[in-house]
Every structure is written in C-alpha cells, then in structure tokens.
Point group: C2
Chain length 376, copies 2
C-alpha cells in the first residue's frame, strides 16, 4: 500500500508528524514556504501554498495531501480533488475551519451549542448586537485569525472601524461567561470511523494556549460524554478527515459551547505524544491514509503540557538543557527548531504522573528554564 | 550549545535516533554506505566507514561522532580523537565491543563474571578446551560477528578448521547451562554519570533476538541489583560513553554471566521507546552530548517487544497495516523501511500494560500480521 503523505506547510505540526512517519515507515513530504522552517528535515519542495502551480506540482509527488495549517485557498483544493488527489481534510470540510462565519452557521444548523453570534457588515449591525448582548461583544475576522489575532473584545462599533473599512467579513459573538476552556480532539477516517481522546483543559494566556491538562480535571462522566458527542457530531456532520480539535467554553451555568475548530493536529493535543496510546500526529497520518485508528486512552493518570512561548532572550533553547534536564529528568522537551522571538511558540514540555499538583509543578518548572532571562 | 551529532552507519539504530533528535532539536547527520538505507532521512553523506577520508570529512561537519554499529577501524577512531573530534563511545572503549577476546580478558580483569573462556590459535588449543569443558564449546570469531554470525557450538576442533585456516582469532567459551537470557542497558556521560534501565529478558531464536520482556519477570530485588551493578562496573571500567547494552546469561545455578556487549542502542532496549520515561535513543543522544541523563523508570508495568524478522513473502509491511491495526489498536509498530528478506530485522512492535500474558499476546498477535505468508 502506498504511504507517501504530503503536508502543506512546514511549521511545528508538520515537524511533529515526522517521528510518527518514521515509526510507521511513511514517506512524509513537506511543502514549505522557506528553507529552515520547523519541518525542514522533511521538506521536499519550497513553494507558496496559495500558488496553484506549486501546490499541484507538490500533489503529484504524493498519495495523500494533508495540512500543517488551514490556509490553502478553496479553489486550489477543489482543483486537487477534481484531479483525483486524495485531500484530507477535503475542501468542503476545511471551509469551516477557514471561515468562522460559515462555521458558526453550519454548527447552528447541526444543533451544536455555540455562543450567540451574528454576521456584522456595518457599524449599525454591531451596535444592534451590542444592544442585545449587554453592551459587549467578541468580534472576529471571519478569515485569517489564529492565536488571538483577528479577535477583539469591543464595547462600541468604532473599535472595528478599520476592519469594516477593509471590507472584512466579521463575526460578533457574545462574551461568554466561562469557567474554563476545554478542548476535545477526535480523528475520523474517510471511511467514517471516529475515535476521541479524553477532553482536556486548556489554559490560555493573551489568547494563546499556555498549558493543557489531560484529561480535564473533574470531567469524567457527563462532561466528557457531552464534549465527545459534540466533536463526533461535528466531525461526521462536516465530513472532517484526519484530526479535528474542538475548542470549547465550559460556561458558569454548566453548558459547553463551541469556540473554534481546527482540522489538523492542535496545540491542545500535544500531550498525546507521550500521554496517549496513540499521539495525535500518528493518528492524523493513520486517518488521512484511511488506516484503522489507534487507541486513545491515557498512558498516565495526568498529563500536563506547557508551551515554551518566546524562549530565552539570548542564546538557544538548547543552552538551557543542562539546567532543565538536571532539574526535571522525567519531563519530555520538544524543541521546534525555531529562533526565539517574543510570544512565538518555540517548543513545549510534557510531564505525566499520578499526582496532578506534582505533574503541573514539574511541567512548569521545566518550561521555566526556557523562559526569557539570562542563564543564571 | 552545539547540537550536531554525526552517526556513522545508516541502519535502524540510526533511524530510531531521528525522532529523538527531532524532539530535542538536535541536528542528526548520518554517514551511510548506500542511498536508501534505513536512516535515509538523516543521511548527509554517503561513504565507507572503513575509509579514513570519508570518515574524517564527515566528522568535520558535526560536534560529536557516534555510531549505528561498532565497525569503524581503531586507527580511524584514534585519528579523529587526535584531531580533537568528540567521539562517543571513544576508541579505547569501543575496542572491547569490536574484539571479543579483548573484551573477555578485560572483563575478567575487572572481576566481572563471564563464562569459562580461552583464546584459540590452533586445533590443539581447542581440543584442550573441549577436554576441560565436557567436550563442548561455543567458538566465536573475535571480530565481526553479530546476530549469531561468527558463532558455532562445536564438539571437535575440525568444525572450525576454516576459521583457523583464515588466521581468525578465536574465542572458545563453555556452553553455559542457562535458564534464560537477560540484558542490562545503562547510559554513561563523558562526565561520568550513569543511569540504568530495568534488566530485561530477551528470548533468542536462531541466535537472533526475537522478543524482549521489560522488566524481566521475577527480577525485582537481588537479580536486578546484580545486573545493574555489572553494567555499571563495565561502563565505568571500560569508559563507555553513550548507551551500553550487556547481554547476560542467568545460569541454572543462579549466577549472571556476561555474554556480549554492545556500545550503542540495542535491540533489547527498543521497548524503551514507549516503555520508559526516556528511550534508549534519546538517552544515547543526551549521553554523547554530555547532557544530564533522563529518568529510566518503566511507563507500564510490563512492556513486550517482538521483532519482525523477515517480513511478508510478498508485498510490504504496510500492506499488513489494515489488518494489524484493526486487530491490535494499542500496539505500536516500528517499520524500519527495509525490504523484506528472510531473517532480516525489518521492524518491531511493542505492547504495554498491567497483565503480562495479555501484553505478550498483543505483541505477538500484532507481529504475526507481518510474518511471511500471503495476505489472507
């Protein structure tokens, strides 16, 4: 059977697919924009994912096309499919990860609980929404936002004048009164099978995922069942293939509302590399190749992942290895091979064990070695 | 800190270092003899490990040199060291993995328990040894043997006439009456720290490792302590850097005798990829870079590794994935990317869990899908 998988995009998600590909003897080929990106080792072609010719040429060299990000234009994706290329997730699913307005509408149609939302075309639209929703709203550009970019909390229409002037399609949502954020990942094969990992808690800082606890504390039972059912319904309803991550709000009145979707391995699933019987990266490759999916149970009672954001002010992550490894010999370090830069996701660490307080401590202590500040 | 590690040899051991290198942002560069070898993804130079110029040129591009195998000639290794290259393990240690006669002598000097042995130069030497040891002996070529090659059990000197005629240095050993074979792996940094994994049981078939159970059943306590102490003594006494695997006989009268040494990650340590807090491949990289070593505890009560020897008569390992994955969703499959060929190590599987019988069953069942025989 043919095992050549092409990944469009050379970031850390493509990078972390490489170990899984090596294990399974999968020939992973990456299309990256620039030399030296995170997935450099598997880069076989440099090119622009928005350029039809680059993508078509790349697709000719692989059995299945999948993604490190969701930014390949629909018309290119559809042309790939028309030419018989296996594209997972396919364009009809990926559309809902590319456009938040379409996503909100489609989820509402599927009966999935979402925050109160409206399409905003004018300042008047937004004023109306503010009036109906306590004078505050989260406004998002429908396309192109990630990690807190393209998201503003506003109390007056003037605060998004620049976006409106650019003719951006905007989505307004209620400011959800949430207790915490959760994430539910599932994987779905083209032939339909779906498996779910345990629902996890994700702690955001400045709109960026900072920590993940797997499974989410106090989630056993109904909460886990509802989260899993939501993700199953979305994966099947949208025809997602590969990994789907559903970001959720757990509201103060005990509801789960869908925040965002990602149709690829996701930061909230990095814990699964060590923490699950099957990592999200292996599972994504199995799924896009339409192979039977792996078990998704937890290998430790608790897994905690902490992102390394920014990295050291001077030097490299590796300069901190002696101190970090000495301090935390059980913690696993993942270095994305990226230059440190404020706020940038340059790596993560994962700890696991029986005692949540201790596991959180270990993961944070290891990650702290890679924070800004000079070597002590 | 500099993190470019050069591996001489492009086999599956070099291949399995790649995921660990990706995790830690290590630039792993492999010198392989031929294109398309198992570690192909990280091959940066083709060349002959017995060719001085090839090895010297390769060494110039890396911070540390280490090995996929033990076959680099001593004179080349010493020249590397003389030129200031960091070589781990160094030539003075590696010598004892290259020459079984020197190894036996040195271990005897260190007070390590070994089988009764003698150097054989003539048929008369061997006859004398046979007379003293019940008429049977294991005869090995001092150099070049592995996986049962270069090893014969003999009852008369005539059975090694061909080796003697070639002027091979031979080692004769008593035929040890053993209950089972064990293996003890440790890792040692140049600065001296040593860590040990649990002792494991290794089941050999036709002189080749077929299965490994980690930890070895009924090994807790004295047996584990003695095995660990033996490996610590050898690692420190021989100045080994990186991973050292010590193959042991557990005799029917409850002694441990050292059989073979390997100064690199070893087949009996593959279970550690999933089964230990730190895999032998990550640990080897940490050790040769003189970084603090990782924890070596077991992640499951039992881990069982089964080799895929030979592979299918027709088709590829991947052709068997649908059936194997469907049948055993928790088992991890490692495909070395090699052409199937009778007896060849083309991959392995690892299972883990609380119930040893079940774990053995799962690993064997998964591996059986990759055995010879047509697709059912």
């Amino acid at each position: 059977m043919a095992l050549t998988v092409g990944v469009i995009g050379g970031g850390q998600l493509a990078r972390m697919m490489i170990p899984a590909a090596i294990d399974l003897g999968i020939d992973l080929r990456v299309l990256a924009e620039n030399a030296g990106e995170s997935a450099d080792l598997a880069v076989k072609q440099l090119g622009d994912h928005r350029n039809r010719d680059d993508v078509l040429r790349f697709a000719e060299s692989v059995d299945v096309v999948t993604f490190d990000h969701e930014h390949v234009p629909q018309e290119i994706l559809h042309e790939l499919v028309a030419r018989g290329v296996r594209v997972h997730p396919g364009p009809d699913a990926l559309l809902y990860a590319q456009d938040k307005l379409l996503m909100r509408r489609r989820l509402s149609e599927l009966g999935i609980p979402v925050p109160v939302w409206a399409r905003i075309e004018t300042g008047e639209d937004l004023q109306l929404f503010l009036d109906d929703n306590g004078g505050r709203a989260v406004v998002k550009t429908a396309r192109g936002g990630y990690d807190g970019k393209g998201v503003r909390i506003v109390t007056s229409p003037g605060e998004v004048d620049d976006w409106l002037a650019l003719g951006e399609s905007l989505l307004a949502e209620e400011v959800v009164d949430f207790r915490r954020e959760l994430a539910q990942s599932v994987a779905r094969r083209p032939s339909g099978d779906i498996v779910a990992w345990p629902v996890v808690e994700s702690v955001q800082r400045d709109g960026v995922c900072a920590e993940v606890i797997a499974p989410a504390p106090a989630s056993a039972g109904k909460l886990a069942d509802v989260a899993s059912e939501i993700a199953h319904t979305i994966a099947a309803g949208l025809g997602v293939t590969g990994v789907l991550a559903v970001e959720l709000f757990e509201t103060t009145d005990d509801r789960l509302l869908v925040n965002e979707l990602a149709m690829r391995p996701h930061n909230t699933g990095h814990w699964s590399i060590e923490g699950s019987a099957t990592s999200q990266f292996e599972q994504h490759l199995r799924a896009v190749l339409d192979l039977p999916l792996g078990a998704t149970g937890c290998r430790d009672r608790w897994s905690v992942m902490v992102n390394i954001l920014g990295g050291p002010d001077s030097g490299t992550l590796a300069d901190r290895y002696p101190a970090a490894f000495e301090d935390q010999p059980t913690v696993k370090v993942h270095n994305y091979g990226k230059e440190p830069r404020p706020g940038r996701k340059v790596g993560h660490v994962t700890a696991g064990g029986d005692d949540l307080d201790q596991v959180v401590y270990q993961a944070r202590a290891a990650a702290a070695h890679f924070d800004s500040g000079d070597l002590g």
